[in-house]
Symmetry: C2
């Protein structure tokens, strides 16, 4: 009797987040003030973040209580199921066991609500009335809209103009949850106006949208800004993914040989992987692999430097793998993997050799996504397809060597609002969208003068 | 500590379907041959259905084993969770407890795969190589595409032309699972060609698409036809919804006062309700309510007659509530509720007084859907919104009377591929889309001459 799903009851949900900062042999450098090149102080962030989240950002406590109000909301879909990919294993005729943690079960369809709900709660608790954020493809904007609906906060989402026009369903989703979503650049901020004057026909960028959202938050006392990845407190909130997965693997007596997730800003990977990184630091033998897109190979090709978190160059300098804050990756359907940098905590673990990395191109990713959909049923987000490519490659290797590897991946979201990429792939209209080595070198060269952490 | 989710492990999945035909005080009449008006014989159906499913269609066994191969596939998302709608209850400040069975968790996003996977399995077991079907909005076509991917069958979906053009994402979903989906009427059947000659600009209809799918199946030895609702074996396969729900309610010591689901062809309602109808027949006190759209009020307004199952008038005559087989309901976003008739088993239970019915219009449904999304997170399908309207109405009544009612509904699917209706509603562009009493009487008058069961 084969059963693919490993469940946890809602009483088994982890009640504390895991903070890897308590266990890293060496912590990342703190972010620097770009003008003084001195470490920023927590209070420098108070214009845009509430104090309780800044506290979490710098905390070195190993375990941090998840507030009851957050747990209650999370349990409407959490714990998510861990599934064994039996259909795929049969298809590949592999001795490898492939498990996937299904983060597509959330109302917004990805792991993003894990932190969106927590951030909305902490902002509400700090007396904030309104949150602003940016969104590209719309995953993060919709997750924050959901969080704000739950905690009765106003929400304003600056959505990159080209996505706003191409992805009306994501915008409608945000409106359904009561959020205001406008195309960026907009006439509603001075930064947006300036861009529109200079480039009236621009299709927008994540960097511009961040600029607008931060300006909006900084210029109003009861409004704060919310970020969906990269920062330490986001990785903290996502740790629930890996904590649940550990409980599920324990239930069935499994030990992972490979832990993997796709990386854009790093949060879904960190969420699954950090609790296992702890085991690895404690001596367990396993590979922990972050998987990125060849269109934006921040960690496989980018150096470890201090760089701006946003394209406009307004944030503190973060110690991270980067392709340069003004790097513009080729257009791909995996919008969530098109970030120039990488979460400092993930970057540091890669730099120090605890986490490996691999990159797959768009065609490899969609090929894996099609095989997955036809054998496992669920249709993955374009971003998620990148880690599916790794899982299939490793399972094929195992079929050759006969090794009974246990592979555990983060299935970060479903692709039901991103089906157009599947159509383009099936029609043969997609290319690999990889960066050429020349362009890459050109971009990386400019980083030579950056400060090194 | 409030937790909204009641889980069952995959080991707790029901291993038998419940067949209400074993317990009904009186069975519905068998379908009639339209020419002879004699009951059809099982072998009359063999051109389009495999023998094993025809056997289930007429079986009066109370419990029917779910094949292991079907269970294995179902457990990739089943048992689905039963959730308590705590956010909504708080918002309504009601003493009522509202539970919803989340059938949106399947890869296709609705309850439809419960029968699609079973039907694909039985056809495969009978040596069938290829299945045909029709689809309107696309829920059923995508579910069958998934079932066929799992059991390695070819799948051909005739999709109503207007939906084919308006809902590209549903078509891409089917293609992703490997199915062939074409607009109906098509040049690929003689029925389709005839329609195109007579009405070259037609936008198609479900009746035409059924006609094409049946012709395709009947004209090829290794091809059969598959239907997503109405028939007895479909109700049987969906009974897993109610069987799981009963286990979940037992776990928390709850007894339902109201059981409800929306009805188009009747299958998601039957799936939840039939196991509870048995309890009601055994003397338990509860209301069992089917909820339809005022745009297509088959059971609240339509008589109980023998009528064709399809708009083309080619199927056996089914004993059911109907608005007339050529009835064309107003356009609404709830495509799944636009069926002129109703499953004979559901019709008979309504006729005999075991099931009540109510109708809500499109505006009431979307208003409920918005309240639901903002308090519970998950965004429901337009069809599902109709039962949410009932749940909210009943919970408000309970708030007035102070009664602690326990309301259990089938949350039949998510609305992520049907968001345009939400946008139209939020913009104020929707009307109620109810049938006028005049038009209704006009249509029903024609049924006076129909045979009565």
């Amino acid at each position: 009797m084969r059963r693919s799903k490993i469940t946890l009851s809602s009483k088994e949900i982890p009640e504390k987040w895991y903070n890897i900062q308590a266990d890293m042999p060496e912590l990342p450098h703190p972010p620097l003030n770009p003008e003084t090149q001195e470490p920023i102080r927590p209070e420098d962030l108070e214009d845009i973040f509430p104090g309780n989240l800044i506290e979490q950002e710098v905390s070195q406590e190993r375990w941090i209580d998840i507030p009851e109000e957050v747990l209650e909301k999370l349990t409407s879909w959490r714990p998510t199921t861990l599934n064994r990919a039996l259909g795929l294993e049969d298809y590949l005729d592999t001795p490898a066991k492939i498990y996937y943690k299904n983060e597509g079960m959330s109302p917004a369809g990805s792991h993003k609500p894990n932190t969106a709900i927590a951030q909305a709660y902490y902002n509400k608790a700090a007396g904030v009335k309104r949150l602003t954020t940016e969104t590209g493809a719309g995953q993060w904007g919709s997750a924050l809209s959901l969080g704000c609906a739950f905690f009765d906060l106003e929400c304003k989402v600056y959505m990159v103009k080209i996505s706003f026009e191409q992805k009306p369903y994501r915008r409608i989703m945000m409106n359904t949850w009561g959020a205001d979503c406008i195309p960026s650049p907009s006439e509603e901020t001075s930064f947006g106006k300036k861009i529109l004057e200079e480039h009236p026909d621009t299709s927008g960028s994540l960097g511009i949208a961040i600029g607008e959202a931060i300006e909006d938050a900084a210029s109003s006392a009861d409004t704060k800004y919310s970020l969906g990845s990269v920062l330490n407190h986001v990785m903290l909130h996502q740790s629930i993914i890996g904590l649940e997965t550990k409980k599920q693997l324990e239930k069935i007596g499994e030990k992972p040989d490979i832990i993997a997730g796709c990386i854009g800003g790093g949060s879904n990977f960190a969420g699954l992987a950090f609790p296992f990184v702890k085991d690895k630091l404690d001596g367990e033998d396993m590979k922990i692999i972050s998987v990125e897109s060849t269109a934006c190979p921040s960690v496989t090709k980018g150096p470890f430097v201090f760089d701006y978190g946003d394209t406009a160059g307004t944030t503190p300098l973060l110690p991270m793998h980067s392709l340069g804050y003004d790097f513009v990756p080729p257009a791909t359907h995996a919008g969530g993997l098109r970030y120039h940098g990488m979460a400092p905590l993930v970057s540091k673990l890669i730099e120090d050799g605890f986490v490996e990395s691999k990159a797959y191109d768009q065609l490899q990713a969609y090929e894996a996504g099609i095989i997955w959909a036809r054998t496992e049923g669920v249709i993955a987000a374009p971003e998620t397809n990148h880690v599916l490519a790794l899982a299939i490659e490793e399972a094929k290797k195992a079929a050759e060597t006969g090794e009974e590897k246990t592979i555990v991946i983060s299935w970060s979201g479903h692709g039901l609002l991103d089906l157009s990429g599947y159509e383009e792939f099936l029609k043969g209209n997609l290319d690999s969208s990889s960066m050429s080595e020349e362009e890459l070198q050109e971009s990386i060269k400019k980083l030579n003068d950056n400060l090194k952490p």
